[in-house]
Symmetry: C2
Subunit: 325 residues, 2 copies
DNA sequence: ACTCTAGAAGAAATCGATTTCAAGCTCAAG
DNA sequence: CTTGAGCTTGAAATCGATTTCTTCTAGAGT
């Protein structure tokens, strides 16, 4: 309720002086004290809307993600939030459901609310960032690329696919299938490529096509594809699930068929925070989601602070946590 | 970039007229057309900050929750988001980590950003809403009460505890423990009370105290308490987990000890969206989290729209999904 | 003693949309 | 023919903080 004018009147100074006190400009000690005192008495908090209007920039950053119900993204959100709130920024979480139109709406809001920057896990590879970038708002891509020359943080996806597959090969499995997301999604494709490379090297005579299944990055996608594989003429003896939720779906189906690991080898790319399997029954390629969020937030804050070096892409290494039976 | 003044100039009208066109006031057809045309040419989007400053209210609602990594809350967030974005509102997700100080910061931001309203899953039962309510900002409590006379949506917690317990009793278990959250958290206490009532009725001679364990509402809390129970002099033959994450932790420990259900009866209050157990091995009391979000958002939008009827509390019924072995 | 500079502080412009107020205009009723 | 009710429209005030522009004062330098 209290405005800068009321504080000014109570402190016997001009509004400009009050503003200067709160923004660390040169104000004499006695006036500073008077202002702070008056502000305390009135319970004054600067009106952020007015400040944003005048400054043409707010202390809010948008975090735009495709699926708020995926723990991978919420873990990342935590990382972003921790860094941002430490720096006095608040985070608006925007859920796009992987829909380009919802994403466009949120990006438009980011502009018209003068948000300081955007961290974007793009819904598709042709998201339109023209307007945002034209206005000089920094954008950092996470998890997936955008087709623009901007900062980014991604996982080592191909290497993750390789590591998962290699681990199953070492454990003695020979017919390893790959369950991955939509072919046009970069992470899905890259992880599958990692799998393909390792398989081709170890089993050059094997026909890989029946073992590679594209689906959705969701639990039901994993269930569906796993059922298909189990019902096929030559079922696999192990699987690589290219994301956490796919992995959950697949393991559910395996459990229902009494095929729990190690009967069927299972490697999952991405953590399974709420799995009820004993953690060590499955090989997990841990993706440092929180770290990704932290890194992206730091990069974004750097850009907001005026950093103008050329765009960088940070690739985060994964950590393999092998199944111990 | 384009402002209302530039649109006005291009269309040959006053800024006031442009504003009226975008707010559905009486403007003649030809001027309306001219304005829309000019706006399209310039790619004009109204500046939300300026609008908020003038209107003293924005189209943003804050959703304040204690744990963004809990699927229960993200499912609820989805419900809120769907209703809100349908009505042209956007949702800011604020994660408090159950910390009263972080919560207070976010509530302060809600005020100084002129947010239209707040949906709050309180971090404690003495959250301070005085200022928010004094400013006439509507607040809807979800999941837990607040100590204020405001709208609320809660689960039938006691009944959930009863239903879970009753189900295990019917299945023939006789020594049923209860794992719940911090005693001072309303939902934890109420669910435990539901369990206690049913146990007292069926097994009046049983000493319930060793079977009731307060912990945190997190996976590690569930693990810890489950280990304790298994190591105790007289371990239970079944457990009621008062929330989803507690349940996950408990089931993890049971799996490691080869005590998977139905060897040990397990009933969980709250869904296990990403569990890798076959869904039917555990009794689940489904909490309609999405529905809670939808209901709360509707109530809040009603209040924002000027609804002044006395505060209501909606209690949502749960649905028991029994274990089929 | 006089000019010059640096710092402090107030007055007023500014950010962009909304809204009040007043003006101008048309058409109908008396 | 006049009064007035009901429109549309523009001019200008407004929301609250920031920032530029000015003015003023005190202290340094010559």
């Amino acid at each position: 309720m209290a405005t800068i004018y009321e504080v000014a009147k109570l402190a016997g100074v001009s509004p400009a002086t009050v503003s200067r006190v709160f923004n660390g400009m040169g104000v004499s000690e006695d006036k500073t004290a008077a202002v702070r005192d008056a502000a305390r008495q009135l319970g004054f908090t600067p009106n952020r809307t007015a400040r944003t209007l005048r400054r043409q920039a707010s202390e809010v950053i948008a975090l735009v993600i495709p699926d708020i119900e995926n723990p991978y993204f919420t873990e990342m959100a935590r990382g972003v939030e921790d860094v941002a709130s430490e720096a006095g920024y608040s985070v608006v979480l925007c859920n796009t459901d992987s829909r380009v139109d919802k994403e466009a709406t949120y990006l438009q809001i980011a502009i018209s609310e003068h948000m300081a920057g955007v961290i974007l896990a793009a819904a598709s590879d042709h998201s339109d960032l023209d307007e945002l970038l034209a206005r000089g708002r920094p954008v950092v891509a996470v998890d997936r690329g955008t087709g623009y020359d901007i900062d980014g943080v991604v996982m080592a996806n191909r290497q993750a696919g390789q590591a998962a597959t290699e681990n199953l090969v070492q454990a003695g499995y020979t017919r390893i299938a790959c369950l991955t997301g939509p072919e046009h999604v970069e992470t899905a494709y890259e992880r599958a490529q990692g799998w393909r490379g390792v398989m081709a090297r170890h089993f050059p005579e094997l026909d890989l096509d029946p073992l590679l299944r594209y689906s959705t990055f969701r639990v039901d996608g994993g269930r569906e594809v796993m059922e298909e594989l189990l019902g096929s003429a030559e079922p696999p003896d192990a699987i690589v699930a290219a994301n956490n939720l796919l992995g959950v779906g697949a393991i559910q189906v395996l459990t229902e068929h009494g095929m729990t690991p190690p009967k069927m080898g299972v490697a999952v790319i991405g953590s399974l925070p709420f799995t009820t399997l004993t953690p060590s029954a499955v090989t997990v390629v841990r993706l440092p989601a929180r770290h990704m969020g932290v890194t992206a937030a730091k990069m974004l804050l750097g850009r907001i602070g005026g950093d103008t070096q050329p765009a960088r892409t940070v690739v985060l290494r994964n950590e393999v946590q092998p199944a111990r039976i």
